[in-house]
């Protein structure tokens, strides 16, 4: 079985197990301030790390290229309270234009 299939199946199983587990365990298990705080920070650090990695790296190399311009526009769009589709399309268009004209 190829690596892609293993990753697809394993992550799907893990994700559903986590969702289902949430519906099974009593709320009192999680209602500890420290556990709540840590679990709130997990998506924040992962998403932030992923944005940085997917914008400024290629394999194990750091680089600033057309993607940085696109992500800057995404940040500006969210700050300007543009609707979700406008933020994404604006970022993609900016990145594509910078790529096309080698800015």
């Amino acid at each position: 079985m190829s690596t892609n299939w293993i990753v697809v199946i394993a992550t799907s199983l893990a994700a559903f197990s986590l969702k289902y587990l949430g519906h099974l365990i009593p709320a009192s298990y999680i209602e500890k301030p420290r556990v709540e705080r840590i679990t709130q920070f997990i998506p924040i650090v992962l998403l932030s790390g992923l944005i940085a990695m997917q914008t400024f790296t290629d394999k194990t190399k750091l680089m600033v290229d057309h993607r940085a311009a696109g992500i800057a526009i995404a940040f500006a769009g969210v700050i300007a309270k543009l609707p979700f589709p406008a933020v994404i399309i604006g970022a993609m268009a900016t990145s594509a234009i910078c790529y096309r004209y080698r800015i």
Partner: protein, 212 residues
């Protein structure tokens, strides 16, 4: 009525981003079948984008699986709150678990009474599920004819969506500090660790930030 209408509107708006996922996944060398299964079974946008992004960049399979799973932990936390609201048994619990995501939970807790909250959960959950999967297939089929992903801006679709998901969570100063630390930390380890693993180590920052 307006709860149902609003819920379905959220389903269409969020589901449309499935087209970006379908296209990104195929350009990261996942087959159309694998791409559609990710949306049908994994069904968690951030985990899906993270997974194909890490593998597409030549990253380690374990790093991809672990990052996808960690990003899924918040759905588990939503499940705890939603289980108390829905009070389901058996197969309805399984269905509810599968559609427990940011949007269904967010719409449910935004309602002022319990019946509306239940309606919002089911309509938003199934609305997003239907449209996310429909658009994933369309995006995957479309990407086959696109060619170079960068020429269409597809290489920033995933991080741009992450920006839109992350920013509303950064109201507190501690959250902004943790996010900044995580970005700098992940980038500074890029050169030294296998692709897909620096991102996992940012969980340490979440533990430190939340310990207090």
């Amino acid at each position: 009525m307006s709860v149902k209408r609003d819920s379905i509107a959220v389903g269409v708006a969020v589901g449309a981003a499935g087209a970006a996922f379908g296209a990104v996944s195929v350009s990261d060398h996942f087959s159309i079948l694998q791409t559609c299964l990710l949306s049908l079974v994994l069904f968690s946008g951030a985990s899906q984008f993270a997974l194909v992004g890490i593998i597409g960049n030549g990253g380690s399979p374990l790093g991809a699986i672990a990052t996808g799973a960690f990003l899924g932990t918040r759905n588990g936390l939503y499940g705890i709150r939603m289980a108390a609201l829905l009070n389901n048994r058996g197969w309805r619990k399984i269905l509810a678990a599968q559609i427990t995501i940011d949007e269904s939970t967010g719409m449910a807790i935004a309602q002022s009474d319990e019946p509306s909250a239940k309606t919002a959960f089911w309509y938003t959950g199934f609305g997003v599920y239907f449209f996310w999967n429909l658009f994933t297939l369309l995006g995957a089929l479309g990407a086959k004819s696109l060619g170079n992903a960068a020429a269409w801006g597809l290489d920033v679709a995933s991080p741009a969506i992450f920006v839109a998901v992350l920013m509303p969570r950064l109201a507190a100063r501690s959250a902004r500090l943790a996010a900044l630390c995580a970005a700098v930390w992940a980038l500074s380890l890029t050169h030294f660790l296998p692709v897909g693993t620096p991102i996992l180590t940012t969980v340490v920052i979440a533990v430190i930030a939340g310990w207090r």
